[in-house]
Symmetry: C2
Subunit: 282 residues, 2 copies
């Protein structure tokens, strides 16, 4: 498969490297897809951390709000931030609801009309972006880590468990760990994946862990104890139990006083970057 | 004068402290004024750095984009970010132009109708905010530093030179150092201050320095060498010459490849915070 052409939207000097935003024609989404890359100033190929954002967010959110470039520059780690869905799809029902559709791609390839062939964020992350990162950014795609926030934490966990050869390090902030059991997932999964819940299990981190899909390495999860979505939508204790049952190493940290925002993420992002760098560039 | 009442818009835990946004009724602006405060987790009174933002920016811009809270928490330094003007003034001519009016208060007290009594950002910074910081935030207002970006760099330089008892440390990013000599100032000053250029000199950092208003301490200025506004609007060499003539210590650093954005600011904010902390909490 040919590497897609790259359109540069902007490139700015930052911490000695370059923070850029880009667009390409995604086969998986049948249209344009945007993403950001922070490339540290290093000679040779560098490893990269992919960070998947949450509901309503874009390729800019983590890049602007997380304050991650400083440590990434120090560690020689690239940061890659895809948009959370295709945009301006023209699909009826794909806009106007912050929990579903545009801005809420749930990091899977939809199988149901009219979303199949248009909402293909799993293929964007595991297939299309690595081709672009290898060809255009000098990134060593044999050294990719993945992390994310909320819906993006769900994405990081499920994609790492589904594609153990693709990602070598894994973490998440306030992830949706059991979408089948919470309202956000119960709303999105039928529309993207249909009503057969056996298909949902392949995109539920807790179910994947229970079904034998472990991760070869420790998983780091940070959770704000004052997160308004904690009890109803996030429920990290469900994933903790599944990891315990599977003997999967998991470090789940609860932080008193912190909520679901990027004020929380920026407070702990350095620990995540170092967690990934220990594996990606030891 | 009574301390204005404080309305809390939001407060979030960040790096162990609290990032909040607030509103009060400003006498100087005849209406509501917004500002942000990052208060580090420290017992007792803490010093504060006021950061004045540039054209089009708000009280959120620096707080979200500069990545300053981490080092401020380490240093025990509060960060205070006023909005750049009153909003929704209803004044004809005060909206629709990004270089003048709302979002472009130029950190002075207007003397000309219809702006007099409504655009009073100098009084907000030097009189109203210190009362609020002292009364509501546990900030030691005898230990205030000031910095800013672009129009806010102009504000930091001119307010520190005009009020040497108020601010004990001073820095700027890509400041407008000679507004009388550049288009941005030549557009705003007549409308806010009238056509008598002698009034303008009191709000022009280069003229203030030439007129004997020095600062008791070193001034740090960072400037991106690839800043699109450098040659026409910023012209740091004019301030450098005035400082040299007045024997004012100035460290003006030019950074190859950096532009006018917060990608630039975040890359060097740590140096500025440490510059201020050396004076404010030695």
């Amino acid at each position: 498969m040919a590497v897609p052409a790259l359109e540069v939207l902007s490139e700015k000097r930052c911490f000695g490297g370059v923070q850029g935003f880009y667009r390409y024609e995604s086969s998986a989404c049948g249209g344009p897809m945007r993403f950001g890359v922070f490339r540290p100033e290093r000679s040779g190929r560098v490893p990269a951390l992919l960070f998947l954002a949450g509901l309503t967010c874009t390729e800019e959110t983590f890049a602007i709000k997380a304050g991650a470039q400083r440590v990434a520059a120090e560690l020689g780690l690239a940061l890659v931030t895809p948009d959370t869905s295709p945009r301006e799809t023209g699909i009826e029902g794909a806009t106007g609801d912050w929990e579903f559709g545009e801005g809420a791609g749930f990091w899977l390839d939809a199988t149901q009309a009219p979303y199949a062939g248009r909402f293909g964020m799993e293929s964007v992350v595991v297939r299309e972006l690595p081709m672009l990162l290898d060809a255009h950014f000098g990134i060593d795609v044999a050294r990719l880590g993945i992390s994310g926030h909320s819906m993006g934490g769900h994405g990081a966990l499920t994609l790492a468990l589904r594609h153990p050869q693709r990602f070598r390090s894994l973490s998440a902030f306030a992830p949706i760990v059991a979408p089948m059991q919470v309202p956000w997932g119960q709303k999105a999964f039928p529309r993207y994946l249909g009503n057969d819940e056996t298909a949902w299990r392949g995109h539920d981190a807790t179910a994947l862990m229970a079904d034998g899909h472990g991760f070869d390495g420790p998983i780091l999860i940070d959770q704000g104890a004052d997160d308004a979505f904690l009890a109803e939508q996030l429920r990290p204790e469900l994933f903790q139990a599944a990891c315990d049952a599977a003997n999967q190493p998991l470090l789940l940290r609860q932080h008193a006083g912190y909520d679901h925002s990027y004020w929380f993420i920026q407070s702990f992002i350095e620990d995540h970057l170092r967690h990934h760098a220990r594996v990606l560039s030891p």
